[in-house]
């Protein structure tokens, strides 16, 4: 314990200023690096260990001054062991600890790992399923498809699924993720390959997850949740890159299904449990942070190791959740369109996760602990960790829009190495849920979506109002930034035909 403290102090030369003077940040404090990249220099605040960088257009810059996202980005730059920069994506908005849309890499194995840098919804993420139908071919079935999918995939805010798994079954999922489900006949072998990390973090250890967290997850495998989580039947409206779209199996007017959810109550409890362990451990490791929710401990400390194993287990649970939702969607699909109709998994990506990845930093190869909180991994062509069938073009990157707006499929590029192969994860909120419900009723939002020909299935009108498209940034502008900054390239644009909301 004492050794750890001294090693940690020596490694990082901690000279933390306890009374940080919070300076008001204005646009003049930002240095413009390119049209899409701005930097807050390390000199801005005494406790910053690295500069903070944000990818955003000048037009969108005002949005990030509206909330605490830049202050949170600066706080992230104080993490012990952080490498190069604290980074924010164009969809950045206020979170807790890290901003949402935040990325930070720390040195492995002696840098910190941060539960706050992953967030409460561990491995919240998105997957895209592709059909061989065009909109025209199944338009008359859409209403029935949406109804059947809603029936098959509960939100989980009520009694959950009918089947309540035993703790032993939960442990199996925590340890083995998607492969154990495929082995039991849920899904196809190809589903394993077409998932980030093949749907299983090998460091997962169920014994590091509390009984309370496991109990919260027992009836939640295959449930959607609430908030911005959704399931959409979409169509491809535009192809930007024919060759890559073909490699991904995408074509114009094709009907696809998007699933956006995470680790549900199990992951939320897991994060809560580890904040309760990590925060009291700060004095042991000499850690002083400007914000309690940054919550970190050295990766190689007993607390850090246990958190990484527990988070890995919760990530496996989240992949299993999205996998089982896909299974139920496939059942609904077949029940309406016939046994021959199928949905293939294009790809599944996490956007709340911490992973060990290898990079070259200042000419030296090193492993880093990459935290992505509301940010998506985007490996380039040739990267060994992406499925062989995509290796020639790059990793599919799925960017969900807000409810009822466009979503995008992008492809990873070599340039995004400067941000640890990462891009944005969605649109990012600009309006509070409270303000959204005051501005528009759920009925008005539904009427507006239906007037655009979009079918809406949702039990809660309040939930619909909170997620109104006007409460979010313009997804096309967000994607334009990462495209123009070269962090990824646009492949296809998708628009919703039917929205199935949790609550």
């Amino acid at each position: 314990m004492v050794i750890w403290k001294s090693v940690f102090r020596r490694c990082f030369g901690i000279a933390i200023i306890f009374d940080i003077i919070k300076t008001m940040l204005t646009k003049k404090d930002l240095i413009k690096i390119t049209d899409y990249l701005w930097e807050i220099p390390k000199s801005f605040r005494a406790d910053m260990r690295v500069p903070a960088r944000i990818y955003v257009s000048e037009k969108m810059l005002a949005d990030v001054f509206r909330d605490k996202s830049l202050e949170q980005l600066i706080n992230t730059a104080t993490l012990p062991g952080i490498v190069k920069y604290a980074i924010a994506m164009p969809d950045a908005h206020e979170g807790y600890g890290f901003c949402i849309g935040g990325v930070a890499a720390t040195k492995f194995p002696d840098g910190v790992i941060s539960p706050g840098g992953v967030g409460y919804d561990q491995n919240c993420g998105v997957r895209l399923l592709i059909s061989h139908y065009t909109e025209k071919e199944i338009k008359s079935h859409l209403e029935k498809l949406a109804t059947e999918i809603q029936k098959e995939v509960p939100s989980g805010l009520g009694r959950g699924r009918q089947i309540k798994l035993s703790i032993a079954e939960i442990d199996k999922i925590l340890e083995s993720g998607i492969p154990c489900l495929v082995n039991r006949g849920y899904g196809e072998k190809e589903d394993i390959e077409n998932c980030e990390h093949q749907g299983r973090m090998e460091m997962a250890d169920p014994s590091c997850v509390s009984e309370m967290a496991k109990n919260r997850g027992r009836d939640q495998v295959g449930t959607l949740g609430s908030g911005n989580h959704f399931l959409e039947i979409q169509k491809v409206t535009e192809i930007f890159d024919e060759e890559i779209a073909k490699a991904f199996g995408l074509f114009k007017d094709q009907v696809v299904v998007m699933i956006h959810t995470g680790s549900r109550g199990l992951g939320h409890q897991n994060c809560t449990d580890y904040l309760r362990i990590v925060i009291p451990a700060y004095p042991k490791y000499g850690i002083k942070l400007p914000d309690k929710e940054l919550a970190c401990v050295p990766f190689n400390s007993p607390e850090g190791q246990r958190f990484f194993k527990a988070m890995s287990a919760a990530c496996n649970f989240a992949w299993a959740n999205r996998h089982m939702i896909m299974h139920y969607v496939r059942q609904a699909w077949k029940s309406v369109l016939g046994e021959k109709a199928n949905l293939k998994l294009l790809y599944d990506v996490a956007h709340n996760i911490a992973k060990i990845e290898e990079y070259e930093v200042d000419g030296e190869k090193m492993k880093l602990i990459v935290h992505r909180k509301g940010a998506t991994r985007a490996f380039p062509a040739g990267h060994p960790e992406i499925p062989e069938k995509y290796r020639g073009v790059g990793q599919p990157v799925i960017i969900p829009g807000s409810m009822g707006t466009a979503s995008y499929v992008l492809v990873g590029t070599e340039k995004s190495k400067e941000v640890w192969y990462t891009v944005c994860h969605g649109a990012g909120r600009t309006m509070s849920r409270h303000a959204a419900t005051r501005a528009l009723s759920g009925q008005e939002v539904v009427r507006n979506l239906e007037s655009r020909g979009i079918i809406v299935k949702c039990y809660s009108m309040k939930g619909i109002a909170e997620e109104a498209p006007m409460a979010y940034k313009n997804i096309s502008e967000v994607v334009e930034v990462v495209h123009n900054a070269g962090l990824s390239r646009r492949v296809a644009r998708l628009i919703p035909l039917a929205v199935i909301k949790g609550e």
Partner: protein, 150 residues
């Protein structure tokens, strides 16, 4: 005096909680959470003492400071709510180790609850956060901001 009020937050649910005493602030925070989880729970009769839904075992928690104690207390109730499909109101609470209401000494609490079974939650509160949490006494009233991740 208001028990709590809803404030603005770009993505989550931010509240201001009030109480004449620290104990009352804790009780009001738990009631705010119960109301968010289910606006109609009070229409349901709480089950009898021998029912599986009634939380009969008192909760005992010790934390590093008073702010953490509130987060830990509400987090325990939230987890029990979601596992048991119930919302809980505090029937009895005792906070100890608070010399001069210091917010820095390690405090602890014991609490008892009344559970109300619900068929459905209105809101999926993911977690109770430390964001902007700062229990303090202003003009004789204990208060703090409380942010729920939803």
């Amino acid at each position: 005096m208001k028990k709590y009020e809803v404030l603005e937050h770009p993505a989550e649910l931010r509240l201001m909680i009030y109480g004449k005493t620290i104990e009352e602030l804790f009780i009001n925070a738990a009631e705010a959470m119960a109301n968010i989880l289910s606006s109609k729970f009070k229409e349901v009769q709480p089950p009898k003492v021998d029912s599986q839904y009634l939380e009969v075992e008192p909760l005992k928690i010790e934390s590093v400071d008073l702010n953490s104690l509130l987060v830990d207390f509400l987090s325990e109730i939230l987890a029990k709510s979601q596992i048991n499909k119930c919302v809980y109101l505090v029937s009895k609470i005792k906070i100890t180790q608070l010399p001069n209401y210091s917010i820095t000494k390690s405090p602890s609490l014991e609490a008892e609850f009344i559970g109300y079974p619900v068929e459905h939650f209105d809101e999926d509160i993911k977690a109770v956060t430390y964001e902007d949490l700062n229990i303090q006494k202003i003009n004789g009233i204990w208060q703090t901001i409380l942010v729920f991740d939803i």
